[in-house]
Point group: C2
Chain length 150, copies 2
């Protein structure tokens, strides 16, 4: 379905706007699907991303600014986001000995086990979406999107 059909506009859009709208609408579509799947796990998308970032640290704890710069969507309150994950027992927070301004955050065993449950569900959605186009097309999009971000 074309972007015009999707947002039900009959107006002729300039090339640049068509592209931008298409990216935004597609991103929303993806977020909707992933967000819906995560709901079964009582997890928001930002929470899920924090957990994946922490797992990617492979044991090495991360501080708040590290998490923030790796987030897919930058957000302004990582403190409270991490609080939620601590309440659920998925992460823990220790004040850094060397630099007491910093806080070391790491994923717990429970968090890792939980992620292992969630992963296949999300992987499945991501694969299903991506499988609609072939590898060459994927590579082309990736290259172009990298350019667009400048």
């Amino acid at each position: 379905m074309s972007i015009e059909e999707t947002i039900k506009t009959t107006n002729k859009l300039p090339e640049s706007r068509r592209l931008i709208l298409n990216i935004l609408v597609t991103a929303n579509h993806i977020n909707d699907r992933i967000g819906e799947a995560l709901k079964d796990f009582d997890l928001s998308i930002p929470q899920f991303n924090v957990l994946r970032i922490l797992r990617g640290q492979k044991g090495k704890p991360a501080n708040l600014s590290t998490i923030q710069e790796r987030m897919v969507s930058r957000m302004s309150n990582t403190t409270r986001l991490v609080d939620k994950l601590i309440l659920k027992g998925y992460v823990e927070r220790v004040i850094c000995e060397k630099n007491r301004r910093k806080v070391e955050i790491s994923i717990t065993k429970k968090g890792l086990e939980f992620l292992q449950e969630v992963d296949p569900v999300i992987d499945h959605i991501e694969s299903e979406i991506a499988s609609r186009i072939n590898s060459e097309e994927i590579e082309l999009i990736n290259d172009s999107l990298n350019e667009l971000r400048g």
Copy 2:
């Protein structure tokens, strides 16, 4: 800059996740830029989209569900969003005579004039972003993204 560099991960990502992340990160980048520009006009992105939808109606008023289905990102409280725009004098709301369940919403003269001020700023951002790739690439992305949404 590759998606891996952008989100600063050293882990090898599967092709599908690279694509998905790339779309999401690029969409965030675009939203950040547009959102920042709109801040000068005291307008949020959803508010801006509602105004553009109403202008697209070319005088014909729209009801809430019409607005909702045309929104780039579906949202669950169009009533209050419209309230904000009414407070600013950009739109007006009239209860439909024929079907009193429906509400007819239309953009005011002030709203149209305001949009004319905002438009060139947003157009400029959209063109600047899109100009980083050529028309063929844009068309390829558009086609592929349409496929991805299924």
